[in-house]
C-alpha cells in the first residue's frame, strides 16, 4: 500500500512572529528588505493599474492584492536564465524578473509591445486561457533537459486551473520525463465566483503532484519567506536532475477577480475582512520592525519612491502612441504572405478599400 503526505510550510505567523528557527535566507535582513520592497512595488503597481482602469485609461485588470508573496517569493528564488510562464496575476514575479512597469501598463492597456519584454527575453507573456501554459512549461523544461542546461521552467497558475486537463497532462509528462520544471498553484481560494471547495474534492491541491509522481507541498502563500524557501528547494531539485515539483501556495484574493468583477455578488465582505490580517506585507514588515530593520521612515521613503516610479511609468504609458495599423499584420508570420499583403494594403488605405483589381471581363 502506498502512503503519501502533503507537508505545509510556514515560517512567520500573521503577526510577524517567527514560528521556528527561520531558514538561512531569513537571516540576511537585506534579502528580506528586498522581498518587502518587491511586494510593496507590486501592490503599488496594482493600485495604480486599478486607478487607471477606473478612470477609463486602462483595460480590464486583474489585481494581485493580498497575493504578492507568491509571485515575489517564487521569482526571487529563480535564476535570471530560468524561464517564467505566468498566468495573468503574476506582475509581482514579472516585475522582479525585469519586466518594466511601463511594459505591464502597455499590456494591460491593450498594446502588444507590453509583451515584448526588454528584460527577461525568454519569459512567456501572460497566459489568459487558464492553465494552458502548463504544457509550455513542460516543453521549455524539455528543451533545457535536452540541451543539458541547468535551467528551470516555472509555471504559475491558479486553483481553478488545477481542474483543467492540460495542467494534469503537463504535470504527468513532467513526472514521466523528470523535467526541470516547477509548477506553482496560487490557491487564492477563488476562481472568479467558484470557491476552492467547489473546484476539487481533493483535500489539498498539492496532492495532485502525487498522481503525477512528483513532489508536492503546501506553503503559506502569505509568508514570502516560506514561499521563497519552498521555491528554492523545488528549483534546486529541478536544476540538479531531480525533476519537477508542484507547490500549492495558499493565499487569499483580497480584490475582485478583475476590475470587471463585483465579488460582493458571491462572497461576504466579512470573509474578506477576516483575511486582511493575514496578508503578506503586514507580516514581513512586523518581523523586520521586530528585528530593528524597518522604521516608519523607511516605510514612508519606500512608499514615496515606489509611487514615484510607478507614476512615472504610468505617465510614460499614457504618452505612448498606439502602434501603426500595419503592426497588426507584420507579426502574423515571419514574412508577410502575398495573400495577407492585400489585406494589409486595405487596412492602410485612406478610404475603404475596393480590394484588388477585378479581372477584366472576357
Amino acid at each position: 500500500m502506498a502512503h503519501f503526505d502533503i507537508g505545509y510550510r510556514r515560517c512567520l505567523a500573521p503577526d510577524g512572529r517567527p514560528l521556528e528557527a527561520l531558514p538561512d535566507l531569513a537571516h540576511d535582513a537585506e534579502t528580506l528588505i528586498g522581498l518587502y520592497r518587491a511586494m510593496v512595488r507590486t501592490r503599488t503597481f496594482d493600485a495604480k493599474a486599478v486607478a487607471l482602469q477606473r478612470t477609463g485609461r486602462l483595460g480590464t485588470f486583474a489585481s494581485s492584492l493580498g497575493q504578492e508573496a507568491v509571485p515575489v517569493g517564487i521569482a526571487s528564488a529563480m535564476c535570471a536564465e530560468d524561464v517564467l510562464l505566468p498566468s495573468y496575476r503574476e506582475h509581482g514575479a514579472q516585475l522582479w524578473r525585469g519586466v518594466t512597469p511601463l511594459e505591464l501598463f502597455l499590456y494591460w492597456g491593450g498594446d502588444e509591445r507590453g509583451s515584448d519584454f526588454s528584460g527577461p527575453r525568454q519569459d512567456f507573456p501572460c497566459c489568459v486561457p487558464v492553465g494552458s501554459h502548463a504544457p509550455h512549461a513542460a516543453g521549455v523544461a524539455l528543451a533545457f533537459k535536452l540541451r543539458r542546461e541547468r535551467r528551470v521552467a516555472v509555471a504559475i497558475f491558479g486553483d481553478g486551473a488545477t481542474s483543467k486537463g492540460d495542467v494534469a497532462e503537463a504535470l504527468n509528462i513532467a513526472g514521466v520525463w523528470q523535467l526541470p520544471a516547477v509548477f506553482v498553484v496560487t490557491n487564492n481560494q477563488w476562481a472568479i465566483s467558484v470557491p476552492r471547495r467547489r473546484q476539487s474534492a481533493a483535500e489539498t491541491l498539492a496532492q495532485k503532484a502525487v498522481a503525477a509522481g512528483i513532489p508536492g507541498e503546501q506553503v503559506d502563500g502569505n509568508d514570502v519567506i516560506a514561499v521563497r524557501q519552498a521555491a528554492a528547494a523545488a528549483l534546486e531539485r529541478a536544476r540538479t536532475g531531480g525533476g519537477a515539483s508542484l507547490i500549492e501556495a495558499v493565499t487569499y484574493r483580497l480584490a475582485d477577480h478583475t476590475t470587471a468583477d463585483d465579488a460582493s455578488r458571491y462572497r461576504d465582505d466579512a470573509e474578506v475582512s477576516r483575511h486582511w490580517p493575514e496578508e503578506p506585507l503586514i507580516r514581513l514588515r512586523a518581523y523586520l520592525a521586530k528585528i530593528g530593520r524597518w522604521t516608519k521612515d523607511d516605510e514612508e521613503r519606500l512608499l514615496a519612491a515606489t509611487a514615484a516610479e510607478i507614476d512615472a511609468a504610468a505617465s510614460a504609458y499614457l504618452a505612448t502612441e498606439p502602434q501603426p495599423p500595419e503592426s497588426m499584420f507584420d507579426y502574423t508570420f515571419a514574412r508577410l504572405p502575398t495573400d495577407l499583403s492585400g489585406q494589409r494594403a486595405q487596412a492602410l488605405a485612406p478610404v475603404p478599400a475596393t480590394g484588388p483589381e477585378p479581372m477584366t471581363a472576357r
Binding site: 509583451s115 507573456p125 486561457p129 516543453g139 521549455v140 524539455l142 528543451a143 509528462i173 495573400d339 472576357r362
Partner: protein, 326 residues
C-alpha cells in the same frame, strides 16, 4: 532515385530534416519503437535516438503545448497527432498560443513547429478516423495549413514546413499514403508553402482540389477529356496562405470551375475559394461555380463512406453541368 509512396516520402523528409538540423525533434504517440501507427516515423528512433524521437504520454493538448515550449526555446518540433479525430484538444493550443505567440510578443517569441496528422476518409477506418477538418485550421490566423497529395509534394512541402519560421498544420491524406509511387529525389529541396500546383492545363474548366480529392479531380479530368472537355487541375496544396492568384488566373482562362472537397459542404474551404472567385473573377465566369463536397452529415461508417465521399464521377458531372452554360 527510387519510387516511394507518400508515407515513405514523409519519413524521408523527416529523416532529411533531422539529419540536416539538430534542432528538429519528432514527438507524439507511438512515434518511437512503433514508428507511428502509419509508420511515418519508421526507423527514426534507431537512427536518431530517444532524445530526438520522443514517445509522449497520451495527451494531445500537451503534445501541442510541449511543441510550443520547445519551439519557443529554439527547437523545431515535428509533432504527430495520431489521427485528426483526436486533434481537437490540441486546437486550443494552436488557436490560443502557437499561432499568435509571434504577434503577442511582437516577434520576441516565435513558434516554428509542425503538427502532422493523417486526415480524410476512404480507407474504411473506424469512427473518428476519417474526417477532414482542414477548414477549421485555415480559419486560424497565423497558421499555415498544408495538405500534400503526392509523394514529391509531401517530401518537399514537409521539408519546407519544418524549415518555416511559423507553425504549420500538415495534414496527410490517409487514402493517398500508399495509393501510388513516385520518384522522389532526396535532394533536400523544399517546395513553396504559398503556391498552388497546376497539375494539368486546360481550356474549358478548372478542377480545384486538395488532399484525397486531387486524385479524383485528375480522374475526372481524364473522363472529361473523353467527352471533349479540356479541364485544368489545380492542387491547392497550401490552403493558408492561399495562392488565390493561380486559381483566379486559371478560372480567368477557362471561365468555369469545380471545387472539390472531402469535408462537409457548409463552412468548408471550397466556400472560401468560391468567394475569392466571386470577388475577383465574377466577370470572367461563364457558368456558376460548382462545389462538390461531403454532405453536412456526420461522416458515415465505412459501409456508407463511398456514398459520402465525392469522387471523380461527381466532379465530372459537376463540370459537365457547368459546360451546359454557353
Amino acid at each position: 532515385m527510387v519510387e516511394i509512396t507518400l508515407i515513405q516520402a514523409v519519413t524521408l523528409a523527416l529523416a532529411r530534416a533531422m539529419e540536416e538540423d539538430p534542432r528538429v525533434l519528432v514527438l507524439g504517440e507511438d512515434v518511437g519503437a512503433d514508428g507511428g501507427v502509419f509508420r511515418a516515423t519508421d526507423g527514426l528512433l534507431a537512427r536518431f535516438g530517444a532524445e530526438r524521437v520522443l514517445d509522449t504520454p497520451l495527451a494531445e493538448a500537451a503534445i501541442a503545448g510541449l511543441s510550443i515550449g520547445l519551439a519557443a526555446q529554439g527547437f523545431r518540433p515535428v509533432a504527430e497527432i495520431q489521427f485528426t479525430g483526436f486533434i481537437y484538444p490540441a486546437i486550443d493550443q494552436l488557436v490560443n498560443h502557437a499561432s499568435r505567440l509571434r504577434t503577442r510578443t511582437r516577434g520576441r517569441i516565435t513558434c516554428p513547429m509542425v503538427l502532422r496528422s493523417p486526415s480524410g476518409g476512404g480507407v474504411h477506418a473506424p469512427e473518428h478516423h476519417s474526417e477532414s477538418p482542414e477548414a477549421m485550421f485555415a480559419h486560424i490566423p497565423g497558421l499555415r495549413v498544408v495538405i500534400p497529395s503526392s509523394p514529391r509534394r509531401a517530401y518537399g512541402m514537409l521539408l519546407a514546413a519544418i524549415r518555416d519560421a511559423d507553425p504549420v498544420v500538415f495534414l496527410e491524406p490517409t487514402r493517398l499514403y500508399r495509393a501510388s509511387r513516385e520518384d522522389v529525389a532526396d535532394d533536400g529541396a523544399g517546395l513553396p508553402l504559398d503556391r498552388c500546383f497546376v497539375l494539368r492545363e486546360g481550356t474549358d474548366t478548372t478542377l480545384i482540389a486538395w488532399g484525397g480529392m486531387v486524385r479524383e479531380a485528375l480522374a475526372a479530368a481524364d473522363a472529361l477529356a473523353q467527352e471533349g472537355v479540356s479541364a485544368a487541375v489545380i492542387d491547392v496544396a497550401t490552403l493558408k496562405p492561399l495562392d488565390a492568384e493561380t486559381i483566379v488566373a486559371s478560372v480567368g482562362k477557362t471561365g468555369r470551375c469545380v471545387i472539390a472537397q472531402e469535408a462537409p459542404l457548409t463552412g468548408g474551404f471550397a466556400g472560401e475559394i468560391a468567394a475569392r472567385l466571386a470577388e475577383r473573377g465574377l466577370m470572367t465566369l461563364l457558368a456558376p461555380i460548382e462545389r462538390v463536397a461531403g454532405y453536412d452529415t456526420v461522416m458515415p461508417l465505412p459501409r456508407l463512406e463511398h456514398l459520402y465521399l465525392p469522387n471523380a464521377a461527381r466532379i465530372a458531372a459537376a463540370a459537365l453541368r457547368a459546360m451546359a452554360y454557353a
